[in-house]
Symmetry: C4
């Protein structure tokens, strides 16, 4: 569970103790630290949200800004503490959670130079992913990795699919730009492409909509094509999920090492070796 980049810098002393509290999730004080951290993250995301509402900002702006800076300084301290107590600080800084931790504090500092940047602190919500480490960790991570494995297996099909959608959207966007023209909201080909994506994905905002009879006929055609298209990712993902569960028996063949076999297999279907199951 504790991966290489999270190894403690020393086995005893305050750094070992801090490391245990920060990276552990089992003892009482470790769990209290986790809960305080999560509460602080959620609170600071809430502050960022409230700050973006004009009426609330006018009334409570100074308080919200103070809370934001307090949270940011706390998170900055926590970030450096994490770097201080792990054995390979640089590895930690480049790990997924290391990057997220940095991105979670940067926006507030950026807001000193760049107006608006402080709204990006909602990126802190990604830190909540840590919560899975605490609540029945192993189970959740197992489910998550099943979903990710299904997605990873179908990555090539998904890429093909995305390229096909964008190609179709480009062509239909150009056709609609020609047919409907700027007077009906299709002011340029990029805008037509935006409209085609919105339509094929069955979102259909309606901010741009065809007005000519020919445009509506083409739209009907696009939608019927889109019908088929929306079936593709679902089919890919479902088939991938099924494949994952279908060949559920992870039982390496003793001769050739093929890892997965059908549930009712007694012989490796690649090399014919008898599998070591008790029949």
């Amino acid at each position: 569970m504790v991966r290489l980049e999270f190894e403690p810098a020393s086995q005893s002393g305050w750094r070992a103790e801090c490391h245990r509290i920060i990276f552990g999730h089992t003892r009482r004080d470790e769990r209290i630290f986790d809960l305080i951290l999560i509460a602080l993250i959620l609170a600071s995301v809430l502050v960022a949200m409230l700050d973006s509402v004009a009426e609330v900002d006018r009334e409570w702006g100074d308080w919200l800004r103070a809370a934001e800076w307090t949270a940011t300084i706390a998170f900055t301290g926590e970030y450096f503490l994490r770097l201080a107590v792990v054995r390979h600080p640089w590895r930690y800084a480049r790990s997924f959670f290391g990057v997220i931790d940095l991105l979670a504090v940067l926006p507030t500092y950026l807001s000193l130079f760049l107006f608006g940047a402080q709204h990006l602190i909602v990126i802190r919500v990604l830190r909540i992913l840590r919560v899975f480490r605490i609540l029945k960790l192993s189970q959740y991570v197992g489910e998550s990795s099943e979903l990710l494995a299904a997605l990873y297996q179908s990555r090539r099909k998904v890429l093909l699919f995305v390229i096909s959608v964008i190609s179709l959207a480009t062509i239909f966007g150009a056709i609609m730009f020609l047919v409907e023209g700027p007077e009906n909201g299709f002011t340029s080909i990029p805008r037509g492409i935006y409209w085609a994506i919105v339509t094929m994905a069955t979102v259909g905002f309606g901010d741009i909509a065809p007005h000519t009879v020919l445009g509506q006929a083409i739209t009907s055609l696009i939608i019927i094509i889109g019908y088929g298209i929306i079936a593709v990712p679902t089919g890919i993902f479902t088939a991938s999920m099924m494949r994952g569960q279908d060949r559920s028996i992870i039982l390496p063949c003793p001769r050739c090492g093929l890892p997965e076999h059908a549930a009712d297999a007694r012989f490796c279907h690649r090399c014919g070796e008898r599998l070591g199951k008790s029949d």
Copy 2:
């Protein structure tokens, strides 16, 4: 079928008779009671709907209010009657249908103190779920439990999915708030989150829509991500349904060892051996 909390308070006398009529669904008088109850529920829901239409309310308001109170008093009486004839009234009151029965009468009484509460009596529509007890009960409940089992099996994946959607919506909502700004309808981050959920789920009301070129490019990206996202619950649920129906019985054949068999199998379909289930 008659669960513990619905057991009669006594085996004879008027309470036993009332219990039979209220909770039974087989004899003629029991079925007539059920049908009257369903008709009354549907009628009172219709009254609540009509009452909410301003023109109808102006014309027929007094009659509708009278009908509402009549139904409410009848349902209140029925509720107390149910409590009176079951052996464990308190258990009944906490059961699913006990709570629904109470919620179905409360709004009318609340409307005496709180304007608008009477519109909540449409919650009575949930009482219609009782109808399944009557019409070919066992079959319907079987189908229902198959669906619920599929949902229950995938509860962790669904929770992961919902948290992922909300996290993505929060981040995209904040980005769009920065990119589009209040002048294009994205007046705050919460509003941006609302828009991101509406867009990723392919609902696309169009009450808020991106106007800048950058905003439309990001929207196209969100939609293509949303494409993948909408495939996830379908894939999870379909795989869960399939797993449920496919070969749910993991029951190794005593002779040849084939591990999985069809749910209705009594003999191994590979070697013909009788399976060790109690028929």
Copy 3:
């Protein structure tokens, strides 16, 4: 292929000849009749569509009306001819295509008494279903029956699903009517229900949309629930399709008669009898 209600009234004479031309689909003159019929149907549907466009109606109204009456009289003649040449006219009149044939001519006659009825002649498009009889009939009907079998198998789950959707829509519609109120377009509970169905199905016209913060929060919740709901019919139908193809071997057990078996079954899984496949 020729079902009982379509049997010829006599084996020879003009009625037998007419019957062969009308109901047959193999010889040259039978196919020519079919093609003329389909062309006439498509033309009359086109006329009905054009007639509904105000500008076209103003210009060509009389011609269109004349074409409509010509087609209607031709179809009426054909209808009575069909009745005349089948052995059981009354059975034919009640069959699926018999009813469609009648519905296809009625609107024009109704339009003499009832303004607007003539637009319903687009129901003639259903007659096109006959086309499947001609073009590689057996294959198409096979595919169609596979789809229908999948739908039929899941009819109870679909009914449960529809009742659940309507119940949820009723409750959410009432809540949104209370939260948003008539000033934001939710003028009545029925209108709220309409909006909830439009939203849960991810259609999202945007003619009614929440304006209050609480309303938008509830909408986000409805949409996330709707996400799960849209997965249900897909899951049901896909599982049903898979079940259909999975147990693809229709091979009745010689002892107990169980019709379907797993693709790799050699023994009936109900009674253990050896199946008559050549291993």
Copy 4:
């Protein structure tokens, strides 16, 4: 990989060399040619997009037109070069990529006579499909053919589905035209059909929306029917994908007779017998 229509015209000389560079994808100079071509295609599509934006066109119009003509002349030269170096130029011209190559240059020439035609050069985006030949060709083409095989297998079901959707849309479109009428945006039956397709596919632009109570009730019905309809292509495609991946090889084991095996199986997974495939 090099199919018949792409065979070189001669085995040596400049034409063989050119053929190698144009149609090969393995050596250094062949890959450089491919990358230049792809860059040129993407650049020319970008130019076409920018040209469609009125403000950009006003400012940079002449430069964009010059870039367009440069690209077009380069592509025309490449097209004739391809024709010159293949053995069967006419076969190449009729092949998929041959037609695309021609369509990719025609619009610019057409724009001399027909205003607006130049916007169609985005069709060049289809030429990018060549990219799959370069980047890990065999894998991608394998995935692609798996998707296409799934689509091809279900072509009849898809045709049935499309005809059903159009028939339903025609009937619902006519009904809504009668119920809502021109005063609510349903100005003609074709427009009603357009609206019905937009609604059943859950796009829901909202440019036309029902205003009467009856219209909204019918819309709710259409949407619930559409719910089921959107499940159909997904179910068809998923089942087709599953069938394809699952146990596609119907190859009875010579010893035990197990009929279906995994696509990569060389030995029967039940009895270990070598399967009669040529490895």
